[in-house]
Symmetry: C2
């Protein structure tokens, strides 16, 4: 139910989502960090799935990216879903 795989998949998907949304804006990690009132290296860790954000960090990032918190999480869940499907497809090719 709460397998380490599912959880790290979620954290990774969140990081990829933030990177994707940041790049869409044409911002550097530093640019996003400043807008979100976060440390630049912490933003890097989040994007690489090496840090787990708190609810407040999620809120700060959503405000900086001009999204609702719900929308940021929705993007993350869609990213996790897409990666899961891609993983299944790759497994089928390999089998």
């Amino acid at each position: 139910m709460f397998s380490p795989d599912t959880m790290s998949q979620l954290v990774n998907s969140f990081g990829l989502t933030v990177r994707q949304l940041r790049e869409k804006q044409g911002w550097s990690q530093e640019g996003l960090a400043e807008r979100a009132d976060l440390n630049r290296s912490y933003v890097g860790e989040l994007e690489r799935g090496q840090a787990i954000p708190s609810l407040l960090t999620l809120k700060k990032l959503s405000v900086a990216l001009d999204l609702s918190l719900t929308s940021l999480i929705d993007h993350t869940e869609r990213m996790a879903q897409t990666r899961l499907i891609q993983g299944i497809a790759l497994t089928s090719i390999a089998c």
Copy 2:
């Protein structure tokens, strides 16, 4: 932009949302804690807005409550909105 008020409002709204959803299921804090693989006293702190959940805690609670993560956050944002409107209404009555 990231006032302490806005942030504590969000954490409080999250706690109230969890309490409301838990009570709708007819579960005790202990019942929810077991289903979410969390400590009972931690669930109490979250419901009282005394602890800030991480993304993984949010995920665990959403799974336990049989909601998507997006839906749990959506409930929280609606709760925050409702409380904000109620606050404005009370201020108007007082003026």
